[in-house]
Amino acid sequence: MKHLRSIDELGVDGLVALLQLTDHMAEINQRPVPKVPALRGRTVASLFFEDSTRTRLSFETAAKRLSADTMTFNVSTSSVNKGESLRDTVATITDMGVDAFVVRHKSVGIPWQISQWTKSSIINAGDGAHQHPTQALVDCYTIREATHESRFDGMQITIVGDIKHSRVARSNIQAFSMLGAKVTVVAPPTLLPPDLSHWPVQINHHLDEVIPTSDVLYMLRLQSERMSQGHVPTLREYSEQYGLTQKRVARLKDSAIVMHPGPMNRGVEMQIDPSDVKNSLIHRQVANGVSVRMAVLFELLGSGSSLGGQA
């Protein structure tokens, strides 16, 4: 595997293999010294054109635990014409000798464009509202860990919120479906893409209808600018219809789990402290982020090297 730009590109076999490899990485992370020399001499560059805390930190931590060198290129979100010198930036960093770029950009397709300009591997850490494949891997791994199921056949996964603008939703719908889950998206029609009849999902506009049958309730972040754009009238109305409240938590199955990709909007989609939710996996999602990204980096850059030994 050369790049990881979308879940599609990974395919179901690639997805399953990466989840299995993540088990090894999780084991390494349990060690007193969670570091192996697998990627010694390799360089991973983070190219973040959009703010990110957890994704960037977890990639950098993952790279370091595999003994790769890291460099970070942060571009202020306030700079205009962000795309303008992208090709030059990539060329410059490539010249320094980089094996992989971890790229986040507000624009759809940037990871594919960059892969035209460099021979290095490209890992998509989020492009616009398009794809965020490592988040989907994290979420699949987290569900797998909690349910001890490697396939999600028959599992009812409900994704709630701003599907239209969510790269997490796009990657997760693909990944969950590949593993056999039945996915339902819940949102007002204004927060759904204009035509999703070809997606492997059920559509429901009423959260309360799907609460009792959901095995996984996946809450998405609602950005406040969706109000000014006329997607929802007020945050209050949205959170009443689609927020997770104590009342809704009480109607969940005992075994149901709650997830959120972060960062959370407390008081909007999360009307309740996640620590008050019995089966919240939100902290596991963050913890697993490092193991999953180690697996991705090792898969892309570690061919021929072994995972054994201490750094």
Binding site: S107, V108, G109, Q113, P194, D195, L196
Partner: protein
Amino acid sequence: MSKSVVIKGGTIVNRDSEIKSDVRIENGVIVEVAKNLKADVQLDASGCIVTSGFVDLHAHLREPGREEAETIETGSRAGALGGYTALVAMPNTDPPQDSIAVIDFVREQGKRAGLVDVVPSGCITLGRQGETLAPMAELAHAGVTLFTDDGVGVQNASLMRRALEYAKGLGVTLAQHCEVAELTEGAVMNECQCCTDLGLPGWPAIAEELMVFRDIELVRMTGASMHFLHLSTERSVELVRAAKRDGLPITAEVTPHHLSLTQELLGTYDPVFKVNPPLRSAQDIRALKAGLLDGTIDAIATDHAPHPRRDKEMSLDIAPPGMLGLETALGVVLGNSELEIKDVVALLSWNPARIARIDAEHGRPVAIGEPANICIFDPDLAWSVDLERLASKSINSPYVGRTLRGKIRHTLFKGTPTVIDGQAQK
């Protein structure tokens, strides 16, 4: 005094005839149509069609203001290579074509290049801002016959009504870029399943159709004549068809790319496929082709829109829309329609010359006494679009590397060959 030129061995295609004959030209005028003619310059046209030079209703020549992308000279050369003898220059220059000074400059630069007639269009509103009318009477007196704010549509319905009323008094035509801006904010591609997958903001068909509908009704109300630029959707074609059935003074154009390329190409993430209006569905293409066949669509216009390489190396959302068209139009049209040669010439030459009101000089029959604005093309020649060989200053052609069928062999502008054997002469 220009040399006499003979076009030998071609098939002359006129509206009402198709004959094999040589053509002799002297001093910019066709002086003889007969077999076995001789002259100082002989152009071989065996296996080729000899017909009137093409007229593009929609060329962005970028001068003044964006000479990095194209100049009137390089755009004229691209036009000549595409068989064109006249180009209507779109007014979204910098400064825009809303004053006599700029109109005169564009026309003079066209004459200086001397490769095609450069016909400046004028802005409908001052600075294309959609707020107040441009000095249309002044511009009309300076010879402008087509007015447009192309790049944007005139959003304000009241202002558009006034513009049509005013244009009617002047006897000029308004050309609309149909796009209700509120519906296309940030839009990158057609609103469709593919745009759902890519997470890109969609440009819904209705944003075009609402304005087509509005303007048809404004034409019905005012009686002014109106031309619709680059129609791209099935319903737009239906609306125009019905309006024409009602006898309204409306004409319409489509671009070669909207006849040949679909929305799915945005899945390559290559901004070369970003264009406004966006590439649509295969179903829309079928409807546009049907519109060509039944006369609903009057003209094929390129919307030739050069952009420098670095602008098209930006992300999809930031990269400016537009693609080259002049050098590839004929090949794309011949390869993507079931049209007869005569229909193709009507759509590329005769009809657009009439719409631009330059039909005294262009879109004329190839006959004795007529001005020698002529193109000669091989309708069957397959050729590959080579980035290195494009005459345009920019390279944003979606057809680079593709094979097209049908190529211009020679072009004559006012009797002088501007292209011989596919090579620009100056």
